[in-house]
Amino acid sequence: MRVQKFRSIQDMNLAPVSPSRRPDFERFLRHCAQYWKIAPKVYPRGVFKFRSIEEAEKARGSR
């Protein structure tokens, strides 16, 4: 990866970000895998039913 040099943080923020050559969904999968490595979770097993997506969200938040 080439090195870019900037005279200021402002210049750095204005610099275009090189797009990844990796397909978008592959980047998503890699990102999720990294997230899992950093913050693995322990989930319950099975099926849970909710009357609304809001109720499901609350259940997720309280886990």
């Binding site: 890699r30 899992w36 909710f50 009357r51 609304s52 969200e57």
Partner: protein, 158 residues
């Protein structure tokens, strides 16, 4: 979230003929807006036959898991339009929805077909995702909506 597991699930969806559309962070990922998630959000057509296809797909992806039989058409087509399934692998979970509030059903969500490793995947379009996400209460959905609006130059009447 394990890559091979996601591909296996999406492949099983296709093989079963499940009528579905991805609507969550995975759909955002297909559109180049990448953020981490723990789940797959799947909106399915609300028919008994389609719920059976879902169960067939999950049996294929997670062979031998008896919990799959707890996913019932009576629930998804009735009082419980949101079902969360935690597979035995423990790496992710699936939120299966037949409706989102009173507004959105499978039939209402515009989708496009993408492909990964030869598997066709139905993904909500950026405009459809934007409509769904701007209408919900979660902060993360509002962030997603803002990102979609900016990336795809969407208007509020999108």
């Amino acid at each position: 979230m394990d890559r091979a597991e996601i591909i296996r699930v999406l492949r099983a969806f296709e093989a079963s003929g499940l009528e579905y559309v991805l609507i969550g962070a995975a759909a955002m990922g297909f559109h180049g807006l990448v953020r981490a998630t723990e789940d797959l959000d799947v909106l399915i057509r609300a028919t008994p036959e389609n719920v059976e296809r879902l169960r067939t797909a999950l049996r294929e992806a997670y062979e031998g898991d008896p919990h799959i039989e707890e996913i019932a058409a009576d629930d998804l087509l009735g009082e419980y339009p949101a079902v969360r399934y935690y597979p035995p692998t423990g790496d992710l979970y699936l939120d299966v929805l037949t409706r989102l509030g009173e507004a959105a059903r499978f039939e209402d969500v515009d989708a496009e077909t993408r492909e990964i490793e030869g598997t066709r995947v139905r993904v909500a379009t950026p405009a459809a995702l934007y409509r769904l996400k701007r209408a919900t209460v979660r902060a993360i959905d509002h962030q997603d909506a803002a990102a979609l609006r900016e990336r795809f130059n969407l208007k509020d009447d999108a």
